[in-house]
């Protein structure tokens, strides 16, 4: 029996790094300190056993060898005029590097799962920057915490204990007792139940509410109507007072803000509010990233190509124009003629029309798990689980990079090996 301490959790953007893992005979028998979500992933489920292929998507898969599957994947990709390489969020950075190289060689579009969660945040960062801080800075200093359109109780269960609401630090010794928590959401979530101040916005009115807060902050309360987006002016004024007089404000925002009406403009506005609050106090803003390494793909893609996501290599040089080059843009335009889905589940999370198009074109899936994307795939290549069976780098939601441990020996090859082999085979097929 082996006990691994200070292990990292390969589930959400909290990237908790204090887990204890008990391994017996190359099998994980216990996961300590993790939340239910993390623990369930580490304990394992629904693995794809062997590579599979089928020509007709209505027929059953047949098991094939890795070489056969890799060869078929390379043929599909190298025959494609407009390939899409999508996913990446549940893989370590070492995989991203290989993926970007493959995208370059193919002249493909490479995009990650942010396209259906925080890519609008990136657009806002292009406009306004990102005044942020590491999570420990918040734990040690923040006396006011705002969750806007995010529900950590369910989506990031240990966030509040480790980094925000309940955490204790040098200047926050009293933890929750000395903190004010504001939750802005359309629904009274369990996170909202714990708030000192719950602000119920009408669906799609976040932009208006942020604008009202900015108006009040800049001394123009007179122009604010009695209610804004379902929130009373009285409550808005009260919130501004709490924010202004805080020592350190930390705003966390989730998909309630990025994927509701106004999308990136909501974040743009929220960043402006953050910046303006710094005339009165210290204020930082942080996206609540979902997958444990969705942040990492943005980092790797930025240093390798200059752009965080939705990069089109069709011209040989990186080209980025979300709205034109993001995964759903090319799928909805039916431009994509072959796709490789890796470490992400387009089948489950993309709009129905995008999935319908995926069902019509050749699809290669590289993933440890059977999921809805498998249903539209022609070639399925199972891999080892990053962060459980493969070591590597991941970036926490605040951009801090950590090295994930290997907990057990894998039964399957790692993503990096599969991508290397596909790249090699693509070169051969193209006579390079």
């Amino acid at each position: 029996m082996t006990v691994i301490t200070d292990a990292l959790c390969p589930f959400c953007g909290c990237l908790c790094d204090d887990l204890t893992i008990v391994v017996d005979n190359n099998k994980i028998t216990d996961v300590k300190k993790a939340c239910k979500l993390g623990s369930a992933k580490i304990m394992g489920h629904h693995r794809i056993k062997a590579p599979m292929m089928r020509n007709d998507k209505n027929s059953e898969f047949r098991e094939v060898s890795y070489d056969e599957a890799i060869n078929e994947a390379a043929i599909i990709l190298s025959n494609s005029k407009r390939p899409l390489l999508y996913g990446w969020a549940s893989a370590v950075c070492e995989v991203h590097k290989k993926g970007i190289l493959l995208a370059e060689e193919l002249g493909a579009i490479i995009d990650n799962t942010a396209t259906v969660c925080h890519a609008p945040s990136t657009l806002a960062v292009h406009e306004k920057g990102l005044p942020s801080a590491t999570l420990g800075q918040i734990k040690n200093r923040a006396d006011v915490i705002v969750f806007w359109g995010s529900n950590p109780v369910h989506a990031h269960p240990r966030h509040m204990g480790r980094y925000s609401v309940f955490s204790k630090g040098l200047f926050t010794e009293k933890g929750r007792k000395a903190r004010k928590v504001i939750v802005v959401d359309v629904r009274k979530t369990e996170t909202a139940n714990m708030a000192d101040e719950y602000v119920q916005v009408q669906q799609g009115s976040d932009y208006l509410v942020v604008s009202a807060l900015r108006a009040i902050l800049s001394g123009h309360a007179d122009v604010v109507p009695d209610t804004v987006g379902g929130v009373s002016k009285e409550q808005l004024i009260k919130i501004v007072e709490v924010l202004k007089t805080a020592k350190f404000v930390s705003i966390f925002f989730g998909m309630g803000l990025t994927q509701s009406k106004s999308m990136y403009k909501n974040i743009d506005n929220a960043i402006s509010l953050t910046t303006e609050l710094n005339s009165f106090t210290k204020c930082v803003i942080t996206p609540m990233r979902g997958h444990y390494n969705v942040t990492g793909f943005g980092q790797v893609c930025s240093w390798e190509t200059g752009f965080a996501t939705a990069v089109d290599f069709a011209r040989g040089a990186p080209y980025y124009n979300p709205g034109e080059t993001a995964a759903n843009d090319v799928l909805l335009r039916k431009e994509t003629d072959a796709a490789m889905i890796i470490a992400g589940d387009a089948g489950a999370h993309f709009p129905a029309d995008s999935v319908r198009h995926l069902a019509r074109i050749p699809v290669v899936q590289i993933d440890p798990y059977w999921n809805p994307t498998t249903e539209v795939a022609n070639v399925v290549i199972p891999v080892a689980i990053c962060g459980v069976e493969v070591a590597g780098t991941a970036y926490r939601m605040d951009g801090v990079s950590l090295r994930m441990r290997k907990m057990v020996e894998p039964m399957h090859p790692p993503d990096t090996e599969i991508l290397e082999k596909i790249t090699e085979r693509v070169r051969e097929l193209r006579g390079e």
Binding site: V125, G129, L130, P131, T134, Q137, P318
Partner: protein
């Protein structure tokens, strides 16, 4: 593998070679006395030969560089080149991608570059990028100036623990040297405040910037690190800050160097040699700063030259970046790092007709021209703060030609006549002085002169050949030829391998990463670690076991050994 460069006009100031026709023999990546007849011959044909360029201060890798990229797709879109059989795509101007970073330095004949700042906690990210930068050797300076352990040990006046912490911090970050940015200010920015001078007390820690700087210099010399403390002064970006700069430089007198080099390197002085009391009476005080350097031998500096057009300011000086963003109404990236430091990223555009920018342009050049000894004033643009490094050839041309400067001055805001000295400075640097500011001096300041910045026997075979014949060109007049030649090396050779020919990349070997492993008595480390363990238990948001940069992130390490020695205090 043998190589010989024949008929070069060699400028190697360390070895007293001043344009002489000297053959350079190379074997197994090193410069040697002689090679066999089988050696490949490169005929330099009377062209200029220097050691590969060395840059001691450039922001090339890590969290804030990547924040710059993510914030600035408009920058990434400039300078795009598609992939070739040899090279990955190039993107960006002020914040290039990792590949362009390496290729462009090599194309200018630069072969060694040091990233100017990494927080220990984010060092893994720095190394991930350094690993991907092709060709050049590199390293990174580690931030210590606002770290809680630093301030605790300074307050307790426990130099043994401080030295042990610095040594451990360098190991944890695989860092090369001690960077200190707006000491104390990084901590105060945690609550949106700043220090205003060397004697301000940092709340909750009860130390002053002065005490932090002096203590870090002492620890640096106790450890005998190759490089000295590398200081970004307090009050950067504020009119009148030259007084703080001079007072900071004077602190070096309290510490004796452990090696034949400065005890303090004060960086990007363009931003720290400011007179006046506000933006209205803002003026150059480069003369005062240069004068100090001329009269003292224990401090060095670098220019941080301003370049017209787009730049991206990025620094661990969080408060100055907030002030910049507010002043410029620009987008603002901020990146506080718990227990360690702050940081900020703000785009800027330097304009000839803005008086402040015109004066800053003059300050950088004045610093270089008024400092008599080029070993004391290195050529930098504080990339990408003053402007991107690809503009070094412009700076070289300006320093070599008064004519070029005068032509430029005619196009600038009139303040350049009233509030700077540049119009009246006639000094024109020669090739040897340029070689010092870009090679020998940088290598000396970094403590790497045994292998870098010179062409002596045993040095790394990092060599650049430029398409100019020194005996047939007048740089004071033909400045555009100078600029063009330094922009695009005829040859760049890295560890004896040709990496650039006629300005084009020919091969992309992986360079080394320099870091310093400093020995400290085990007892000091174990005492110090008791405090560190507490910091992780109570304050850090990650586990100590996951903090250090692992070997996987430094695959081509060049480890320099150093170690604790008693420090003499004057």
């Amino acid at each position: 593998m043998e190589l010989i460069i024949k008929n070069g006009a060699v400028y190697d100031p360390v070895n007293g070679i001043n344009g002489d026709k000297t053959d350079i023999s190379i074997k197994d990546g090193k410069i040697v006395d002689k090679v066999s007849g089988k050696a490949t011959v490169i005929d330099a044909g009377g062209r200029l030969v220097m050691a590969g360029g060395v840059d001691a201060h450039s922001h090339i890798a890590g969290a804030k560089v990547n924040v710059g990229r993510i914030m600035r797709p408009e920058d990434t879109r400039s300078g795009i080149k598609p992939r070739t059989k040899i090279t990955r795509p190039y993107t960006g101007y002020t914040v290039p991608n990792v590949y362009a970073m390496g290729y462009r330095y090599a194309q200018m004949g630069y072969t060694t570059v040091f990233e100017a700042a990494q927080a220990i906690m984010k060092a893994r990210h720095t190394h991930e990028e350094l690993e991907e930068i092709p060709i050049i050797d590199k390293g990174a300076l580690t931030l210590f100036g606002s770290n809680w352990p630093t301030m605790d040990f300074v307050r307790e006046k426990d130099m043994d623990k401080l030295a042990a912490y610095v040594a451990w911090g360098l190991l944890a970050s695989r860092g090369f040297g001690v960077k200190c940015v707006n000491p104390g200010g990084g901590e105060m920015w945690g609550f949106g405040k700043n220090v205003s001078g060397l004697d301000d007390v940092v709340p909750n820690f009860d130390v002053t910037p002065k005490e932090i700087i002096v203590s870090l210099m002492k620890a640096n010399e106790m450890l005998g690190l190759p490089h000295s403390v590398h200081l970004h002064c307090n009050n950067l970006g504020k009119p009148g800050n030259y007084k703080t700069t001079l007072a900071s430089m004077e602190l070096a007198n309290q510490v004796k160097a452990s090696k034949d080099r400065q005890v303090l390197h004060v960086t990007h002085l363009t931003f720290n040699s400011w007179g006046g009391t506000n933006w209205g009476d803002f003026e150059s005080k480069a003369d005062e700063v240069a004068n100090y350097l001329n009269n003292n031998s224990n401090v060095t500096g670098d220019m941080g030259q301003l370049i017209w057009g787009s730049a991206t300011t990025m620094t661990a000086d969080g408060p100055v970046q907030y002030a910049n963003a507010k002043l410029l109404h620009a987008k603002w990236g901020n990146g506080d790092v718990e227990l360690e430091d702050a940081s900020g990223v703000v785009p800027i555009f330097y304009v000839k007709q803005i008086s402040i920018h015109a004066i800053m342009w003059a300050i950088g050049l004045e610093l270089a021209l008024l400092t008599k000894d080029p070993y004391k004033m290195l050529l930098t643009t504080d990339h990408p703060n003053g402007g991107p490094f690809v503009n070094y050839p412009e700076v070289i041309a300006l320093l070599m030609s008064n004519k070029k400067r005068q032509e430029e001055i005619k196009t600038l805001h009139e303040a350049v006549h009233k509030r700077t000295m540049i119009p009246g400075i006639e000094r024109e640097l020669d090739f040897s002085e340029i070689a010092i500011m870009t090679r020998a001096g940088t290598a000396k300041v970094l403590g790497l002169l045994d292998t870098k910045g010179n062409l002596g026997i045993g040095a790394d075979a990092d060599i650049s050949i430029y398409d100019i014949k020194p005996d047939q060109i007048d740089p004071t007049v033909e400045h555009s030829k100078i600029k063009s030649a330094f922009s695009s090396a005829a040859y760049a050779i890295k560890d004896g391998q040709v990496v650039v020919k006629d300005g084009q990349i020919t091969s992309t070997p992986q360079g080394r990463t320099y870091w310093v492993d400093a020995y400290v008595p085990e007892q000091d480390t174990s005492e110090m670690m008791k405090d560190i363990v507490k910091k992780f238990k109570n304050y850090y948001s990650m586990q100590l076991a996951n903090y250090m940069v692992q070997d996987e992130y430094v695959t081509h390490a060049q480890v320099i050994k150093a170690g604790a020695i008693p420090v003499e205090v004057n």
